[in-house]
C-alpha cells in the first residue's frame, strides 16, 4: 500500500493547475496589446485551447506593447501569436482566425469557449462583442479591457463584475495622439484579464496536497 502511494505521488500545485486548465478553451477577440499579452499569460498557465482572432499584421509600431518580435513584422498577428504561444508551450492548441469579427462570427467562433476575452482596440467593437454576448450568448463569461492608455496611475486600474461580465482597466484613459497605449499599462490590464479568466476557470479546482 505504501509502495503504491509512493510511486503515485500527486503532482506539484503548479502542475496540477496546468493539468486542470488543459481541459478549457478560451476565446480571444483581438490580438493587439491586450490580446497578445493575455493569450501568452493564459498559455503559460496551461489553458488547453486558445481561439484567437484578428485581421491585422504586425508592424514596427506595434512592438512597443504587443507580444511580437522584430522578425515578425509584416506577418499576420494571429499566425505570429500562434507561433509565439507554441514556442512557450507546444501542447497548447491554438486556432487562429484571420478575420474582422462581426456579430455572427463572435457567436460561431466563441460559442464553445468557457470564457471570452474582449481584446479589441476600438470602442465600437468592444460594444459589439459585449452586446452580442449579453443578448445572444447569455451566461457566457466575458472579460473586457476598458481604459489603459498612457503611463503611471497604476492605482486606478481595477476589475469589476456585473454577472458574467468582468471589466478590467481604469475605464477613463482613452488612447489619443498624446496618450498612446504603452507596454506596461496595457500589460497590466491584459494580465488582469488573464487573472480574471483563471479566477473563473479555477472555481472548482480542488488541489491534492503533494
Amino acid at each position: 500500500m505504501l509502495k503504491i502511494f509512493n510511486t503515485d505521488m500527486p503532482d506539484s500545485y503548479p502542475e496540477q493547475i496546468s493539468k486542470y486548465l488543459s481541459r478549457f478553451t478560451v476565446g480571444i477577440a483581438g490580438c493587439g496589446g491586450l490580446g497578445s499579452n493575455c493569450a501568452v499569460a493564459l498559455a503559460r498557465c496551461g489553458v488547453g485551447k486558445l481561439i484567437i482572432a484578428d485581421y491585422d499584421i504586425v508592424t514596427l509600431q506595434n512592438l512597443n506593447r504587443q507580444y511580437y518580435f522584430h522578425d515578425q513584422i509584416g506577418r499576420l498577428k494571429v499566425h505570429a501569436l500562434r507561433e509565439n504561444i507554441q514556442r512557450i508551450n507546444p501542447a497548447i492548441v491554438v486556432k487562429a482566425f484571420d478575420m474582422k469579427l462581426c456579430v455572427s462570427d463572435v457567436i460561431e467562433l466563441f460559442s464553445g469557449c468557457h470564457v471570452i476575452v474582449e481584446a479589441f482596440d476600438k470602442a465600437e467593437m468592444k460594444q459589439m462583442i459585449i452586446e452580442t454576448v449579453l443578448t445572444q450568448m447569455q451566461g457566457k463569461y466575458l472579460v473586457a479591457g476598458v481604459g489603459m492608455a498612457g503611463w503611471g496611475k497604476s492605482e486606478i486600474i481595477h476589475s469589476r463584475k456585473s454577472d458574467n461580465l468582468v471589466i478590467c482597466g481604469d475605464e477613463v484613459s482613452e488612447v489619443s495622439a498624446t496618450l498612446p497605449v504603452l507596454a506596461p499599462r496595457v500589460g497590466l490590464v491584459a494580465n488582469m484579464q488573464a487573472n480574471e479568466v483563471l479566477d473563473i476557470l479555477l472555481r472548482e479546482f480542488t488541489p491534492i496536497t503533494p
Binding site: D121, A123, K126, Q127, L134, D163, E174, V181
Partner: protein, 67 residues
Amino acid sequence: MKINLNNREEVFESEEMSINQLLAAKNFTFRMLVVKVNGVLVKRHQFDQQMVKDGDDVMVLHLITGG
C-alpha cells in the same frame, strides 16, 4: 428611490426615471455605452422608455478606444 449603480448605492429624489434621465442626472455624456438593468442589456433606442425603479441594479459602462 434607492438604486445600485455600478455596485454603489445611490439615492435619487424621483420615484423612477428613464435611463436617459439617469445618465443626465449623473452627467454621463459618453458616446459609447453599455447599460444593464437587473442583468438585462438595454439598447440605446430604449433609453427613453426603460425606467429605473427603487431597488434596481444598474450597470453603466463607458466604452473607450484602446487595447
